[in-house]
Every structure is written in structure tokens, then in C-alpha cells.
Amino acid sequence: MDVSTDEERLLIEAAQADPARFVELYDRNVDRIYAYVSRRAGSRSVAEDVTSEVFEQALSNLGKFKWRGVPFVAWLYRIASNALADHWKREGRDSHDLPPDVPDEREHQDLERRVSLFQLVDRLPDAQRQVIQMRFVEDRTIREVAAALDRSEGAVKQLQLRALENLRKDAGHHG
């Protein structure tokens, strides 16, 4: 058992004894679960609803989680898979739809890459981060971003380019 799994186990036990510690498990895993769900959800609002559902359920059922050496996130992926299937059922999608798979090794690597990227976004200089936020999260056009930041469209496009170059460079394996 390596140090990080040992630490995770202690954290889970702490949260089982004192639910207030659950947010630490949330902080460690929310980006992963969101990335997993978002890839399958089709829209931001669905991705957010399902992600909320996953953590609400995880908190309710934390007492039932038994440590068997499998990472905590694998348990969360399973909850997420069922939550997506339930969502599709409610939406009236074909009830023959099976719950989506939990990530295989390849997807796991993809998700980890995205999680690292998201954390790099959080550390970008403010102006660059704001551009990313408005363009990708809020789906705003360059013109709208320029108006909101009180800059020219050309300047916003430059910021956008610089942000993506920084992210590519820091993420390393994108280059």
C-alpha cells in the first residue's frame, strides 16, 4: 500500500466517523467525477445535476463504503454510472440502455490528464482564467467577453491564445 492510498483510507475512516470531513473527499474527487460525467452527459446542466447527485448519494451512503484496497474514486464512478442511467431513464431514453461503463485504464488516464489540466486553469493569471471561464464554461462569444472585461476583441483573442499555450506547455504531454 503506497502513501496516498494509506492517506485516502484514513480520510475515509475519518469521514465515516465525522461527516464534516467528507468535503475533503469531495475536494479530491469532484473534478474527476465531473470529467467522467461531462463526457457522457451532453450538457453542462446535466453534468452538474448528475455530479451533485453522485456526491449527495456518496455522503448518504458513506457508512456503507468498505475499504477493499480499491480507490475511493472507483466507488464514486459506480455511483455516477448509475446516476447517469437513472437520468436517462427519467429523460425517457431507451430503457434498454445499460449504465455506462466505469472508466477503463485508457479512459482513466484521459480523465487524470483532464483533472490536471483543470487544476492548471485554476492557477492561470486572473485575466487568462476569466477568458477561459467565459468562453468554455459560460459559452460566451469573444465580443461578449471583450465587453465584460472592457478590452478589445483582439486583446481577448491574445489572452485566449496565451492561456491555451500556457496550459499546453504546463500540461507537458499536449505538445
Binding site: S52, G63, R114, D122, R135
Partner: protein, 325 residues
């Protein structure tokens, strides 16, 4: 395309990606391929407003669970949250037209009336102690108010004797006392108002009778899973046990809200009313609405001195979320 500046070309690629999920523009421009891959990943970047909101909600839920769990046991440490003596977090509130139900409880269970008062415009409010539990009764004084019968699991010393008293007091048998496979000898009664009383005596050391108080609300729902999930989100209820049959039917489950137990069985709902003590009724009211409850009345200071918010849950039960003064 090549005569366009790099920032403009990148922006066109992002437009196509974000609006249409179309990566073909990026493929036509090899110089941008690596940046386009970053952009494609960024479509899944979570809104930080969202992750912060969800975090705050979870945090509120866990704080509330902790407060409610430790509150009653440590009332002395929690000056702003003293539960009324003898009460638990959840107290059933049974609405009937007249005082006949109180009489039935006295005659059947040796209940002791501890308090009675007027609810201006709504009739009489009565509180009775039944063994180690409290029951509240609202007597509307009107026959045109539809009854809201509910169900209870009641543990007594001698089920046969209590069952006989219930019948004498006007109850109808729904099942004579028998040794049941789930560790109790139990008989079932319907009172004159339609309430069900599952009267039981513990059999053996494993019986629930040793873990539960005298009276435990027994809630019926068709989708127990969904309902338990609601209670967990709304009130921080914690699941204690659940029996599951093939096909997903749940014949029995139990949760704890603060220091009160609630049991569940799969059946058509018998929507009733429950008094729920909370350290912060305003926050819990909001949380219940966020979990899918319908507001009946926002939290306000009531003439009784309690601050109370009223909600209806998805099964139709009414909850009076209250903080005693």
C-alpha cells in the same frame, strides 16, 4: 486560412468546438492541433461557481447532521439548541377531529397527557407521553377536515394484553398477535381514525425492541429508495438498515434523524405530519426545498414561541421544522 493571424484562427477553432463540438477546423490547421486538444478538454472544465456551491451544500448538510446528532445528547454544550425535555428530534403530529384519539392512547398504552392548549383558529393541541416517546395531537374540532391517518411501531411489555385493550378501546384488528419471523410477537390495530398501530413485544436479544423507543413512526412509500434519498438530503437522515428483495422491493428499512428512528415499508403512502426539531430551522427548510420538498409556509416565529417552517415532502407527509425557544 494561413494568412489569418494565429489568435484569430485559434478563436475560429474554439468557436467550432464549443458551439458545435466540431473539431474538423482544428484538423485542417496542423499548427493548431495541440492547442485544439487542450480546447477540447476545456469543454469539460467544471464551473468553479458550481463546484463551490456544491461544496457549500455538502458542508451544510454534514454540519447539520453533526449538530443534530450531538445536539440533544449534549444540550448543555449547545446553548442555542435545547430540545424540549422528553422529546426526540422527530415527534409525530396526528390530526384528528376530536379528543377520541387521546382517550384511545390513554386506555390502550397508559399514555399520560403532559400538555394541552389552544391553537388559535386550529383547535386543540395536546401532547402525550407513551412509554419513552412523545406524541402530539391536533384536534381540529371539525368533521370536514379530512383525516390524515399514519402508522406506528409500538413496543410494549405484553403485546397480547395491550392488543386486547386496544380492541376494547375501539380499535379494529388487522392481525392478531403472533410470533413474527423478525424477532417480535406483534399484533396490528387500526384505530377509529384509521391510524395503524403495529404493537409488538421483543422476542430474543436481537429484537429491534431493545433498540427502539416505545413509539416509532412507520412511513409508507412506494419508492423507498427515492424517499430515503430525499430524507437524507433534506434532513441529514442516516440509513441504519435496509432489507431488499429480488426485484428491488424494500420490505423494511430504517433511518435515523438526529436521535429519532423512523421505519419504512413499501406500501401506499399514509401521509401524515411530523414535528422535526432543528438547530437552524431556516437552513433546514431551505435544504428540504432544495431536496425537492414543497413549501407550505416559510419559517416564522409562531404564537407558540417556536420558530417553525412547514413543508410537504414528495410522499405527501408534512414536516413542521421547528426550533424551540
Amino acid at each position: 486560412m494561413a494568412d489569418q493571424l494565429l489568435p484569430d484562427r485559434l478563436d475560429a477553432v474554439i468557436d467550432a468546438l464549443v458551439a458545435r463540438g466540431d473539431a474538423s477546423a482544428a484538423l485542417r490547421d496542423p499548427e493548431l492541433a495541440a492547442l485544439a486538444r487542450v480546447a477540447a478538454d476545456l469543454r469539460h472544465y467544471p464551473s468553479r461557481d458550481f463546484t463551490a456551491r456544491l461544496r457549500a451544500r455538502l458542508e451544510r448538510r454534514t454540519t447539520m447532521t453533526t449538530t443534530m446528532t450531538s445536539g440533544p445528547a449534549e444540550a448543555g454544550h449547545s446553548a442555542d439548541y435545547a430540545m424540549r425535555e422528553g422529546f426526540t428530534t422527530v415527534t409525530p403530529y396526528i390530526w384528528v377531529p376530536d379528543r377520541g384519539l387521546a382517550d384511545f392512547l390513554v386506555r390502550t398504552f397508559d399514555a399520560i397527557e403532559t400538555s394541552v392548549g389552544e391553537i388559535p383558529g386550529h383547535g386543540v393541541h395536546r401532547e402525550l407521553r407513551v412509554g419513552s416517546s412523545m406524541v402530539m395531537i391536533g384536534e381540529s374540532g371539525r368533521s370536514d377536515v379530512p383525516a390524515r391517518p399514519v402508522a406506528f411501531h409500538v413496543f410494549v411489555e405484553d403485546v397480547d394484553a395491550t392488543f386486547a385493550r386496544a380492541v376494547t378501546a375501539g380499535g379494529t384488528s388487522l392481525g392478531e398477535p403472533e410470533d413474527r419471523h423478525y424477532g417480535e410477537r406483534a399484533g396490528f390495530i387500526r384505530d377509529a381514525y384509521g391510524n395503524h398501530w403495529y404493537i409488538a413485544t421483543a422476542l430474543g436479544p436481537q429484537s429491534l425492541g431493545h433498540a427502539l423507543r416505545t413509539v416509532t413512526p412507520y412511513l409508507h412509500a412506494r419508492d423507498i429508495n427515492g424517499y430515503m434519498d430525499f430524507l437524507s438530503r433534506a434532513f441529514g437522515a442516516v440509513e441504519e438498515t435496509r432489507a431488499e428483495q429480488p426485484g428491488g422491493v424494500i420490505p423494511y428499512a430504517r433511518m435515523r434523524i438526529g436521535d429519532a428512528a423512523i421505519e419504512f415499508g413499501t406500501a401506499d403512502p399514509m401521509p401524515g405530519a411530523y414535528f422535526l426539531y432543528a438547530a437552524d430551522p431556516d437552513a433546514m427548510y431551505e435544504q428540504a426545498l432544495a431536496a425537492g420538498a414543497k413549501s407550505l409556509s416559510a419559517p416564522a416565529d409562531r404564537p407558540s414561541g417556536d420558530r417553525i417552517g412547514f413543508i410537504e415532502d414528495p410522499v405527501g407527509n408534512h414536516w413542521y421544522i421547528a426550533r424551540p425557544v
